[in-house]
């Protein structure tokens, strides 16, 4: 009966829009409903609270000292100057060295890159072993590790100094990388363990039957499936290591001092009046790398957290 279909099409064509009485179709939504006002109102107020310090930092870093002394930290700069930025980056003094943050920048990179890689590599393998290859005692070690997350770093400095000294790597970059790996280990291992445990066990079993070993399964099966959690780990570690001051200064020598040491020096070595504009510029410059990492991978961050952290 091909004609029925033709008929139906004709019918539709003839009767353009059927209209009924009463509500029809989409429920009309007011943009300014009380709910929306509350919702967005709260969000905008909260956003303002979070943005305020950033605003202050930026505005201040663009003002000259006289203007700062005169007034209001919230008012926009009357005369924009990039002097503080230049100074913070290139000429601010620490003791005798007057090359600003720039000297620390590459050190920070040199510390952060291998430390992030090493700590993530170690923690991911640990998490994988804990999730898929449990052995007698593995959970016990893990519990100790998690409790270790609560130990203040300061407490551990002395024992670690001793260990590194005995290993003969105190003051070297290797030593610092190890220290970062150690302190990143508890939380990262927890994340990776939870994540790998949430992957289907059957995949792991299938790979074993296929004859893949410990490392093959990890590298060829698990890692390619774990982008989100690696992103989370990376963000956490980049943030933590880049911003680290204590380890960078305690466990290395000046030629490796990270940017935060310069930041601390700029901020803390006051020449009479605190140069707030320079401080703020230095602050922003120092935070720039982790901030960029955030902006680039923020979306993956939530996804990764959903995948890894949340499943207790």
């Amino acid at each position: 009966m091909p004609d029925t279909i033709a008929l139906k099409t004709a019918e539709v064509a003839l009767a353009p829009v059927k209209s009924f009485d009463g509500p029809n179709g989409k429920k009309p939504k007011r943009v300014l409903s009380p709910r929306n006002i509350m919702l967005y109102g709260t969000l905008f107020v909260a956003a303002a609270y979070y943005l305020l310090p950033l605003y202050v930092m930026i505005v201040t870093s663009l003002k000259g000292m006289p203007e700062i002394r005169m007034g209001n930290i919230f008012s926009p700069p009357m005369e924009i100057t990039f002097e503080p930025w230049v100074k913070a980056w290139a000429t601010a003094c620490t003791g005798l060295n007057c090359d600003g943050l720039s000297r620390g920048f590459w050190n920070s990179v040199r510390i952060t890159v291998p430390s992030v890689i090493a700590s993530i590599a170690i923690a991911s393998v640990n998490g994988y072993a804990l999730a898929n290859w449990r052995f007698k005692g593995s959970e016990l070690f893990f519990s100790i590790l998690v409790i270790g997350a609560f130990i203040p770093y300061q407490v551990m400095i002395y024992p670690i100094v001793i260990v590194l000294r005995e290993l003969g790597i105190y003051g070297t970059l290797t030593g610092l990388i190890i220290v970062h790996s150690i302190f990143g280990m508890p939380i990262l291992t927890l994340l990776f363990r939870n994540y790998f445990a949430s992957l289907p066990q059957e995949l792991f079993k299938a790979a074993r039957i296929d004859g893949a070993g410990f490392w093959q399964i990890f590298l060829k099966i698990m890692v390619p499936m774990s982008l989100p959690i690696f992103v989370v780990a990376m963000i956490l570690q980049v943030t933590g290591i880049w911003n680290d001051f204590l380890f960078g200064v305690v466990f290395t020598r000046p030629e490796y001092y990270p940017m935060t040491v310069q930041l601390n020096n700029i901020v803390n070595s006051v020449q009479g009046v605190k140069e707030y504009n320079v401080n703020m510029a230095a602050t922003i410059l120092t935070g720039l790398v982790p901030l960029v990492v955030y902006f680039v991978s923020g979306r993956l961050f939530v996804r990764g957290i959903a995948a890894g952290a949340v499943k207790g």
């Binding site: 009966m1 091909p2 029925t4 279909i5 539709v12 059927k18 009924f20 009485d21 009463g22 509500p23 029809n24 179709g25 989409k26 429920k27």
Partner: protein, 361 residues
């Protein structure tokens, strides 16, 4: 009968994707309507529209004669049971049942009465103090039904309530739902993709595909007189056997011919004329083919390919003139693969579809 739920020209789009298109559906008071269709065809979407959980794009929904298109779900007089049960995990069964009522400020006495009644009907009194995690799948499902029950609603909506359960439990609960309907006489709209559920439970079945209702009829009609090829293939397990061929005249007799084999179709009650030369698809259900016994006038030869004993029944997969065909016989009768058999077809129970429009002739 009054119409209990009436859907008029309903359309729904997710962004630019149109999921439901100009859908019309009248559901009678006290009727058990099953929405059946394969995954992704829009069943849940339709149910959610009726419940008010999705804002529709076009059209109207009336429940009990009232236009509820813009009403909140709670004001529509509906109760809903979800596939994943959606029980509140940290509340006891009792709390799960009464929470909605408490929120609606119904007096405690009344709440107790309703919970008692529902738990009696569903026989979950001993479970009232437990939490969902301490219940088995079937018990959880019962509590989920109870939650709809206490709300004293006109229309029950079920979204694949049994599909997370194992086969045995599923058949038990199916009977219970049927019994519930018989005693409550509420309107029930039930989504499933399991045809056994649909056939056993429904007063009427609406078969959907791509957001369009393909056929709306009682189970017998759907089973015996499927309106089109899709419905015919969708209903029945194992599926109806389809042979592609054409109509021809052999003297007085009208035959269906395919791969050089003729099937006399004079016994078929066509709704239109079967002109010779018309390309058609013949559909025969596995249980309408006789093997070696009661063959009738026309006899076909076939070879057994695979035998699938299923207890009460025995399923044979046969090779017949280039087709593979499934035949269902009594479980006690066994054939070994490779053996030759004779077949008889009961054309009065067959279906013939136009090859192009795929509509039943």
């Amino acid at each position: 009968m009054n119409s209990s739920v009436s859907i008029k020209d309903l359309s729904l789009n997710f962004g630019s994707v149109s999921v439901l298109k100009d859908l019309n559906l009248e559901i009678n008071d006290g009727e058990f309507l099953v929405l059946l269709g394969s995954s992704g065809c829009g069943k849940s979407t339709l149910l959610n529209c009726i419940a008010g959980l999705l804002d529709i794009s076009e059209g109207q929904i009336h429940i009990k004669g009232k236009n509820v298109t813009w009403e909140e779900p709670k004001d529509r007089g509906i109760g809903m049971v979800f596939q994943s049960y959606a029980l509140y995990p940290q509340m006891t069964v009792e709390k799960n049942l009464s929470f909605g009522l408490q929120v609606a400020n119904i007096p405690q006495q009344e709440i107790d009465k309703r919970v008692a009644r529902a738990s009696e009907i569903l026989q979950i009194q001993p479970l009232l103090k437990r939490k969902p995690a301490e219940l088995s799948g079937g018990q959880r499902q019962r509590v989920a039904i109870g939650r709809a029950l206490v709300r004293d609603v006109d229309v029950f909506l079920f979204d694949e309530p049994l599909s997370n359960l194992d086969a045995k439990l599923r058949s038990e609960l199916r009977v219970e739902i049927k019994r519930l309907h018989q005693s409550l006489k509420n309107t029930m709209i039930y989504v499933t993709h399991d045809q056994i559920e649909a056939l056993t439970l429904a007063d009427r079945i609406a078969i959907m595909k791509n957001g369009i209702i393909q056929q709306l009829a009682d189970p017998t009609t759907i089973y015996n007189k499927p309106r089109n090829l899709f419905v015919a293939g969708f209903i029945g397990s194992p599926s109806m056997n389809f042979l592609r061929g054409e109509i021809a005249k052999r003297g007085d007799a009208t035959v269906f011919t395919a791969n050089g084999v003729d099937f006399n179709v004079d016994a078929y009650e066509a709704s239109g004329p079967l002109q010779a030369g018309r390309k058609v698809t013949l559909g025969v259900r596995p249980e309408h083919i006789k093997v070696n016994e009661n063959l009738g006038a026309e006899v076909h030869d076939a070879t057994v390919d695979i035998e699938e004993p299923m207890g009460a029944d025995n399923l044979l997969w046969l090779k017949h003139a280039g087709h593979t065909m499934s035949v269902r016989i009594n479980g006690a009768r066994r054939f070994s693969p490779g053996s030759q058999v004779k077949l008889g077809f009961d054309m009065s129970l067959a279906s013939i579809f136009d090859a192009e429009t795929e509509l039943r002739l």
